[in-house]
């Protein structure tokens, strides 16, 4: 078998010919190796295929958004939104403030609850039925459509208290909660048991051990997970539609009066027939993509600094 195939002089060295004294130990070109090469090419093509929409979307956002966003530089990011949407001109300032309020509020609600929930699941619950149920349902909860969360918050909050950024924050917090629980529990799992045992041996109570030893050890990982959850939440539209309203002026009040957000501005202007509104949609898209990418990047930095590795 080895001698029947003529050796290819160009390939000899590559196949280890130099080491084996001319014996060809590599796979012969056959249907099997061809198929192998073919399938690997198909897989590589899949990777290229995934890059296409990402590049296309980012290119469109950059090409169409940069014009309006950086035309008169800070204007687009600071001016108020034109009340008549067909009017040309800058302005998504209030939407940026709104996005920050809504996302910030959601973070303040979801992170403490989520981290504590994860602490319960990992440090106390373990494999009890309750903990397993909560873990399971948290995973299921990540799949609840965001628009359902939006309507839910409309029913329990907006119907009684009216439009406000806080309603949006509640909806986003519901979306972030299971994500934060999941990522935090994963990080707690990485904290070595001897660390906890050392604290117990020194007489620390369980809660003190968790608060002063376990959580600080897992902190970079927890922050990274939280930041990824924030990046996702900042781009959400559907949960905000029923709770936030449609303001065109700045509203820095979290709890009162209608507000707006970048994603809502994009959604509202995307189907507009007026070029000026479409331009603003692209500009807002650029701002939103920048925000989510920057937050994701910071999350990556935290991940790479992780002291605890799997």
């Amino acid at each position: 078998m080895m001698t029947s195939v003529p050796l290819d002089p160009h390939d000899d060295l590559a196949r280890g010919g130099a080491l084996t004294g001319g014996l060809d130990l590599g796979a012969k070109p056959s249907w099997r190796t061809t198929k192998n090469a073919l399938m690997i090419a198909v897989m590589a093509a899949a990777v290229a295929l995934v890059a296409i929409p990402l590049v296309a979307v980012l290119w469109s956002v950059l090409a169409k958004g940069a014009g309006i966003a950086f035309h008169a530089f800070p204007d687009f990011f600071t001016s108020t939104i034109p009340v008549i949407s067909r009017k040309a001109g800058p302005g998504v300032g209030p939407a940026i403030v709104g996005t920050a309020l809504v996302t910030g509020g959601a973070t303040l609600i979801a992170v403490p609850v989520g981290v504590l929930g994860a602490v319960y699941l990992h440090e106390y619950g373990g494999t009890t039925t309750f903990a397993r149920l909560v873990r399971f349902m948290a995973t299921v909860m990540t799949g609840v459509p965001s628009i359902v969360m939006g309507l839910f918050v409309y029913l329990i909050w907006t119907m009684s208290f009216g439009y406000s950024a806080f309603g949006g924050a509640l909806a986003l917090a519901c979306l972030m909660l299971p994500v934060v629980i999941g990522s935090t529990e994963q990080m707690l799992r990485l904290v070595p048991a001897p660390l906890r045992e050392a604290a117990y041996a020194l007489g620390a109570t369980r809660s003190r051990t968790i608060l002063t030893i376990v959580l600080p050890a897992a902190l970079p990982g927890i922050i990274s997970g939280v930041l990824l959850a924030i990046a996702r939440a900042a781009g959400e539209t559907a949960p905000l539609m029923f709770a936030v309203g449609a303001a065109t002026a700045y509203n820095p009040d979290l709890f009162h009066e209608a507000n707006t957000a970048l994603s809502l501005q994009i959604f509202g202007n995307a189907t507009s027939a007026f070029p000026a509104a479409q331009d603003r949609a692209w500009g807002a898209a650029l701002a939103l993509v920048l925000i989510t990418f920057i937050v994701t990047l910071i999350a990556r930095v935290f991940t790479s600094r992780l002291a605890l590795k799997r």
Binding site: V61, F136, T139, V144
Partner: protein, 288 residues
């Protein structure tokens, strides 16, 4: 005596902390329960026999038949899966089995970025670029393509996790028997991760059905279309809610919430099954 007092105090704080943490964990169950109860309550008047079987939806007449939207939701999700699953599997296998180590990281970054692009930006691109310049129009197919792009990172990352639990010994055994890399994948990797991959695909299905904004922008918002023609305009349940809520009055609002309840039930069912499958396959592979 002082020591024991201190001890008692500490124990109290310890218990309180435990209780707070327990409450935080229980909140997940509470929220899910509240969603189910509150929304069903509110939507109850709209749930008649014809709600899920009738094809006529006319808000001014107070006639609400959701079947076309159910069709649109399922049809676009299936189109998305057909497009996304082969690509996601190819990417997951390439990253885990083929790519050299230096290539892995940039590829994972690529997927992360794709996952973090807001859905409304995909929708904007879909409605102003894809549907206009590629001749797709606003249709089931356009929605399917956009949804596919959005679920590829989800399916890929889950499939990757499952595939990476394939025991090295299985893979090496296949290679030692003279298998090519592709044969090794077929003989060792795929049989091992079959269950988990099915779960990942189902989670992708759940996501595709629940995606609102991108679908609302590109699906075309046509009423009453039940057609297998992918180039036809249609509507999906979340898209209807997003597009009609603004001008909805009373019976109409209840009907829209009924749509949301239907969507909630379907996606929860899909996710329950998917999560169970994924967890079982992960546990099995960690156990051995």
């Amino acid at each position: 005596m002082q020591l024991s007092e201190l001890h008692g105090h500490k124990q109290y704080a310890d218990r309180a902390f435990r209780g707070i943490a327990l409450g935080a964990a229980g909140l997940v169950l509470l929220i899910l329960g509240l969603i189910a109860v509150k929304m069903t309550q509110r939507a109850w008047p709209a749930f008649g026999v014809p709600f899920l079987s009738s094809t006529r939806w006319s808000a001014p007449e107070g006639v609400f038949g959701a079947l076309p939207f159910l069709w649109g939701t399922l049809y676009t999700a299936v189109i998305a899966l057909v497009l996304a699953v082969p690509v996601s599997l190819g990417v997951a296998l390439f990253i885990t089995q083929v790519a050299p180590p230096w290539l892995k990281k940039p590829m994972v970054y690529l997927l992360d970025l794709l996952a973090v692009v807001p859905s409304v930006v995909f929708g904007l691109w879909g409605v102003l670029v894809l549907s206009r310049h590629f001749g797709l129009g606003r249709s089931f197919l356009t929605a399917g393509v956009i949804l596919a792009v959005m679920i590829i990172p989800i399916i890929t990352s889950l499939a990757r996790e499952v595939i990476e639990t394939t025991p090295v010994s299985d893979k090496e055994a296949a290679l030692a028997l003279g298998a090519t890399r592709w044969e090794m994948i077929c003989a060792a990797v795929l049989p091992h991760s079959k269950g988990g991959i099915v779960g990942a695909v189902m989670l992708g299905l759940g996501r595709a059905m629940g995606e609102t904004i991108a679908a609302a922008l590109v699906i075309g918002s046509a009423l009453g279309q039940i057609t297998p023609n992918p180039f036809a305009s249609g509507n999906s349940m979340p898209a209807v809610i997003a597009n009609e809520w603004g001008e909805a009055d009373e019976p109409h609002k209840a009907a829209l919430i009924a749509l949301a309840v239907t969507l909630f039930v379907i996606t929860i069912a899909v996710n329950l099954i998917a999560t169970a499958i994924v967890q079982r396959s992960m546990k099995r592979s960690h156990g051995t």
